[in-house]
């Protein structure tokens, strides 16, 4: 259960970072397509990079470090938006924030895979968490706006770290899958 809970909470955290970034960009930079495309492409590219970075890794540390790094980048992007609103030339820098979140996602999948015999429940629970986080992110923004988008992700990260620690301790020694 704890590995599944970890995957679920990680999905929630990713969605909180993604919806928060969307809302910040939509309000303070532009709601136009370049914002959406930047978030989408950097997220996907970051995930590919994260999968490569975590190659052969077998500990919780990189997941927490990269997710923490993504959170720092998220706040940096927000501060940049407050200081330079509507400045489209800074879009690549804001893309750096979602790239970091994508890397965290890739590192997570490559690392968490060691706790699952089948890949199916890993993706299943992470995706369920993502859906939950998407709804929570939307409702949270609607009700509390930036107070929510700024406070929820660190709370999510704390829960991810706790659940990850529990899952990692429980599944010792971890299963190590390899290609045929």
């Amino acid at each position: 259960m704890s590995a599944r809970l970890w995957a679920y909470l990680f999905g929630v955290e990713l969605a909180l970072l993604q919806t928060g970034a969307f809302f910040h960009l939509q309000v303070r930079l532009t709601a136009a397509y370049p914002s959406y495309l930047t978030v989408l492409l950097t997220w996907l590219a970051g995930s590919i990079i994260g999968l490569r970075l975590a190659r052969g890794g077998a500990s919780l540390g990189p997941v927490i470090r990269w997710t923490g790094g993504a959170l720092v980048a998220y706040y940096a992007s927000y501060l940049l938006l407050r200081a330079f609103p509507y400045e489209l030339t800074l879009l690549p820098l804001h893309g750096g924030s979602t790239l970091a979140a994508g890397i965290a996602a890739g590192v997570f999948f490559a690392t968490a895979r060691r706790l699952f015999l089948s890949a199916s429940p890993l993706f299943f629970w992470e995706n369920n968490g993502f859906i939950t986080g998407w709804v929570v992110g939307f409702v949270g923004y609607t009700l509390w706006a930036e107070r929510f988008t700024l406070l929820a992700p660190p709370v999510g990260l704390a829960l991810v770290a706790l659940a990850g620690y529990a899952a990692w301790r429980r599944a010792h020694p971890p299963f190590i899958p390899a290609a045929r």
């Binding site: 709601a31 590919i48 089948s118 199916s120 993706f123 995706n127 859906i131």
Partner: protein
């Protein structure tokens, strides 16, 4: 470790990386056009788009959950069934949804959300965990790394393809999707070139019938959902923001629909443009005009002859392209030599520009989404005020009738009165909608404003001076960048009314 996970059934599939690359490519395309198609079917507002998106991602969970339980034959049947269903979806959903709406619009909701949750993305998400599990257990890197990377790389390529193909219309993007889906199906079926050839031939045959099926289903849907007799589709586009349709009724009137919501077409919507543009340009003639939004671009025809220059800022290039081609009779853009179109988000444009305008016209739909709500917010009005020239005027619809018990109009007015020293409102009797003019104290007098409205109305209208506007608005909370509850609440109310009270 979850030792209870069931073992895989059947022999491994061939070409897993190529299959996953194409699956990632197809998924992004599918998300792009089907979320818009289903949102339009349900008359997309903020809550509708959220529900459809959540249902779509739920489909992925359905696939992930089913992956280890299906036999190889089961996956193949799933592939063939998905291809067949997806070939019909762009049309069949409209026929089924339009038919169901005759009984209850709630039934249309249920059907659309069921399709989104179970019949869109679920097949694609079967593949990744399935392929990872079939390759696990050997030596070398975890197969998740290369296989998930292949799917993600496909998604990146798909996003690039959308950028290139979407401007060429729904046929191009739908056909591209069906071709890729056919290739995925052929790879999963595993009969080699024969399978690929058969699937592609099927898609080619389908392409021949695309236009009549598209037009027929669209006409059926709009005839059922709106009181339009024999509508003829003229233009459709999947833009990055919404689905855009322009149709012509049997009486020759043209209608614009954005995500299934009527944006232009009725006589009162035409009058809407006359008030919104005609009144401020009468008060402040030969000025520099900024029009935000505009849809049909009819307001350009009203503003251009009586203004020094007209700039429109429209976020969606597909709306502008449709208006240029199909609304030329009403917008007369070819005559507007002092008109400059800008494709941009209005917040960004107004926030970044150094220009000062004599008139700013907010020609946008009612606030049923956060994106539109932001343009009715106190913060945006403040931004607009900072870009008005001395004596400049903001002209805006109140998106409802300005009365003590009408929440939308008072919410919009609440933003205006917090920003502008002078706000007046008027309600022409035959439109039932109210409009407001806002500016500095010396921008206009109430008498001048009343006279300008009379110039357009020629009849009865209710007029509210600044004191009356403030009294009727009372302590209503405005929309702000930090408070977007109102458009979400209004969108939610519409969903409830439509699903449970039968109103279309």
């Amino acid at each position: 470790m979850n030792r209870s996970d069931p073992p895989l059934q059947g022999a491994p599939f061939a070409f897993p990386r190529l299959t996953l690359f194409l699956a990632g490519f197809a998924l992004i395309l599918l998300q792009f056009f089907m979320i818009r198609e289903i949102s339009a079917l349900l008359k997309g507002t903020e809550i509708v788009i959220l529900m459809v998106t959540v249902a779509y991602f739920t489909g992925s969970s359905v696939g992930y959950g089913l992956a280890p339980h299906l036999s190889r034959r089961g996956v193949r049947i799933g592939a063939a069934a998905t291809l067949l269903i997806h070939l019909t979806l762009p049309f069949s959903l409209r026929w089924i949804g339009g038919w169901a709406a005759d009984y209850s619009f709630g039934a249309t909701y249920a059907i659309a959300l069921f399709v989104a949750a179970f019949l869109l993305s679920s097949f694609f998400s079967l593949l990744l965990p399935r392929f990872i599990d079939q390759a696990a257990g050997g030596e070398g890197d975890d197969p998740l790394l290369s296989l998930y990377s292949a799917e993600l790389a496909g998604a990146v390529a798909g996003a690039g393809a959308i950028w290139l193909v979407a401007p060429h219309g729904p046929f191009a993007i739908t056909l591209l999707y069906e071709i890729v889906m056919a290739a995925v199906t052929a790879l999963v079926m595993g009969n080699g070139p024969l399978s690929v050839a058969a699937a592609l031939a099927g898609v080619a045959g389908y392409a021949l019938f695309f236009s009549p099926l598209w037009d027929g289903s669209l006409a059926y849907y709009y005839a059922r959902l709106y009181p339009l007799r024999d509508p003829v589709p003229l233009y459709s586009a999947y833009s990055p923001y919404q689905k855009v349709d322009i149709v012509e009724s049997a009486r020759g009137r043209r209608y614009i629909f954005l995500d299934g919501l009527q944006n232009y077409g009725d006589v009162d919507l035409s009058a809407f443009n006359a008030y919104l543009t005609g009144v401020p340009t009468t008060l402040n003639p030969q000025g520099k005009v900024l029009i935000i939004g505009s849809g049909s671009m009819e307001s350009v025809a009203a503003a251009s002859p009586v203004s020094a220059s007209v700039t429109t800022v429209e976020i969606d290039a597909a709306v502008l392209a449709g208006a240029r081609r199909w609304m030329a009779d009403v917008n007369k853009l070819e005559r507007a030599t002092n008109w400059t179109p800008v494709i941009d988000d209005a917040k960004r444009y107004v926030g970044a520009t150094d220009e000062r305008y004599d008139i700013v016209i907010l020609d946008i739909p009612a606030p049923l989404s956060i994106q539109v709500g932001l343009l009715y917010s106190e913060d945006f009005f403040r931004l607009v005020r900072s870009r008005l020239a001395p004596g400049g005027i903001l002209s805006v619809t109140l998106a409802g009738t300005f009365e003590p018990d009408e929440p939308t109009a008072r919410t919009v007015a609440a933003g205006l009165i917090r920003v502008f020293p002078q706000v007046v409102a008027y309600t022409p009797t035959w439109t039932g909608r109210s409009f407001a003019l806002a500016g500095e104290k010396d921008a206009f007098t109430p008498e001048e404003a009343k006279e300008a409205v009379y110039g357009v109305e020629k009849g009865e209208f209710s007029f509210y001076d600044d004191a009356e506007v403030r009294a009727i608005t009372g302590d209503k909370r405005p929309m702000t960048y930090d408070d977007m509850r109102y458009p979400v609440k209004r969108s939610m109310r519409r969903v409830i009314v439509r699903t449970w009270m039968g109103d279309r």
